[in-house]
Chain length 404, copies 2
């Protein structure tokens, strides 16, 4: 009965594939490269406990009360300083998934076209989908979105008067592929955005987690005040996801609309966790902590790359990315293999991944796999890749021989 009354977008809503997979692989005997969780052993729980009790002692009336929709003014000031922007350019959000939702709410009319990576972050697709967006996917190479295809596509869409509202990009250590867009390509993308009057939604959850290579310029710094960039950030990967704390950097006029949208969405972000993060920032405790994270995750990334080199069979077309940071790497199976079909065998061998098709808005590229290296231990990474290599070798033998 109630089901008949669902909105058009709700009728089309489907459960996230990842989410259902994660349930399947929650068994303790399975080594999981699925999910995208930080290593909980790296949570600075003692620092958080100390700061939390200080905050509750010194400012309980502020830390437990409603706060401004824009976020704690002092925290916004710290973040503005960190990013070299004005406080009016900062809105605190209930982590960056809310950033995706709010940006969708204020920009997407049903049927609007959004340009996304092919593949891209699943949660972005989900957020845009819930506002009935349509997608155009731009394939990636080792430097992120292919700017030549982007240009051709925009040219074509412009002729058809069907230009997208914005381009959604995860520029640093992309989810799911782990690849990073170099500064030069970012400049080209910005030029195209300017030429075709689009804006860029830059989603940067992993940006501080760089394990090798040099940092690339942030889109909003390259934009230089031309107001073509909205940037999302979250503390989920550099502090903890359990706070649900992030922020948006955007032109003041956009922040203004986002604030109104946020009022109707959750009134304000939790004051308590904002107060804790504000104090951690004011005491300059982030630098050392991020250094720890980088060194621990670098070891895990290297562990996974070494294990891949060591165990993976030599098959034409089997390849993987070598990310300079973030939480993920991306494995491509030879054409004709299907990671979705192979998944059952993998689980039987007690190893799990996320099928790459989940990150393609149309469910394409079924020969791809996302591997997470932040959550499992070094030992699990080695053993898990050994098992996965076995599954791939067996599957390749079956599928590729059958195909001949």
């Amino acid at each position: 009965m109630l089901e008949d009354k669902l909105s058009i977008v709700a009728k089309a809503m489907k459960r996230s594939e990842i989410r259902e997979l994660l349930k399947l692989v929650a068994r303790p005997d399975i080594i999981s490269f699925a999910g995208g969780m930080p290593d909980p052993k790296l949570f600075p729980s003692k620092v958080i406990a100390e700061v939390a009790s200080k905050v509750l002692e010194k400012e309980p009336e502020r830390a437990l009360q409603y706060g401004p929709t824009e976020g704690d003014a002092e925290l916004r000031k710290e973040l503005a300083k960190w990013d070299g922007v004005d406080i009016d350019n900062i809105l605190i959000t209930t982590a960056s998934q809310q950033g995706l939702d709010l940006v969708s709410k204020i920009f997407i009319d049903p049927g609007d076209t959004i340009m996304v990576g092919y593949p891209t972050y699943l949660g972005g697709l989900q957020a845009f989908n819930s506002y009935a967006a349509k997608f155009i996917g731009i394939p990636l190479d080792d430097e992120g979105m292919r700017v030549d295809i982007l240009e051709d596509t925009l040219q074509k869409l412009s002729r058809e008067e069907n230009l997208p509202k914005f381009i959604y990009i995860v520029p640093d250590f992309q989810n799911p592929t782990g690849v990073t867009m170099p500064t030069e390509r970012r400049k080209r993308v910005l030029e195209l955005a300017s030429k075709y009057d689009l804006f860029i939604l830059s989603d940067t959850p992993y940006r501080p987690l760089r394990y090798s290579g040099e940092p690339c310029a942030n889109f909003f710094h390259l934009d230089g005040g031309k107001e073509r960039v909205i940037t999302l950030f979250t503390f989920s990967k550099i502090l903890c996801p359990g706070f649900r704390l992030g922020y948006i950097v955007a032109p003041a006029v956009v922040i203004d609309k986002l604030v109104i949208a946020k009022q109707g969405t959750d009134l304000c972000t939790p004051s308590f966790t904002q107060a804790i993060v504000r104090e951690i920032m004011k005491q300059n405790m982030f630098g050392a902590h991020i250094k720890n994270l980088v060194s621990a995750y670098r070891e895990k990334r290297d562990g996974m790359l070494n294990a891949l080199n060591k165990y993976m069979p030599k098959i034409d077309g089997l390849r993987w990315t070598r990310p300079d940071g973030g939480l993920f790497l991306w494995l491509t199976l030879p054409e004709g293999m299907d990671a979705n079909i192979m998944f059952k065998k993998a689980v039987k061998d007690k190893i799990a991944y996320v099928v790459g098709s989940a990150f393609h808005y149309d469910g394409g590229c079924r020969n791809t796999i996302r591997l997470n290296f932040s959550f499992p231990s070094l030992e699990q990474i080695d053993e898990g890749i050994r098992r996965l290599a076995g599954v791939i070798e067996e599957e390749a033998r079956e599928v590729l021989c059958r195909g001949e």
Copy 2:
């Protein structure tokens, strides 16, 4: 430039009047009956500090990690027990404003009609508005929504084939009027919902805060499994707003869709604050705390009612509600007076309220005022009502004489 790209709903978004008023009255010399904040002196900050450090010591990896979108399983179990429902009927939300947003997202298509109290909670109107809903308002009396008018209106709308998707009701100590709908009237409303195939969105943030009279039956208990009721609850008024923690009670099939919608909105509610509330519930600490709140707020409500009796001028048409609970009471000025115009004079006399027109979807009833008694101290309540009485007396003299 970016402004041209806003969605249709975003272009129509306006800042909340209350929000702008609250900025105006943040001066320490003003006694404010505006806002809807609990008394921060009643936050159990010591209990929270103790439980928080225990949680961070015992289960840091769980309390700081991503959690299930549905919410912490143990907390859901506690809540299900509390409400006498199944765990599948519970979704934890980032406070009840998110409940309003998620219900809107899965039920409202642009142009859908929603039936609301005239007046009703402003945040409800904002949430529905951001999905381009249309409103039909049902006037209230001292027992909430007028069921006779509701029946006539539904009959008329049914003939016009323009029935609303749902009826939004704040049944206990309504925001803004403070009135409560008796059990008998709730039954009548449910009968009408059944007759016209609608559901009821019951928003109950103040329900445990009853200072006099007998509790009324909850809509979802009266519904008896007929799946016509979705209920929102929040911990903002009985623990603290700074956690942003609430939950939805609904039929399992609705919870299922809400979970998918929540995935795209914020992935999950903060695990940290959920863990704290779970432990507080498991240790049965809520009962005693709510008893404290009830006794403190009862005194404040009585203080405001006494002050109104003592100071208000005897003018025909000047009246106010006598709520049995909650945070607000509602003052109606004689016809012809305008609380919006009077507001400037009030602020000049260092007293603030919220204009009642803000709670009417069409900005009507400008002769009404919402008064909050939970936040100010007993002394401020007495002095504030004295000042307000002076402002009203003066304004009445001017306006009503001019009118003659």
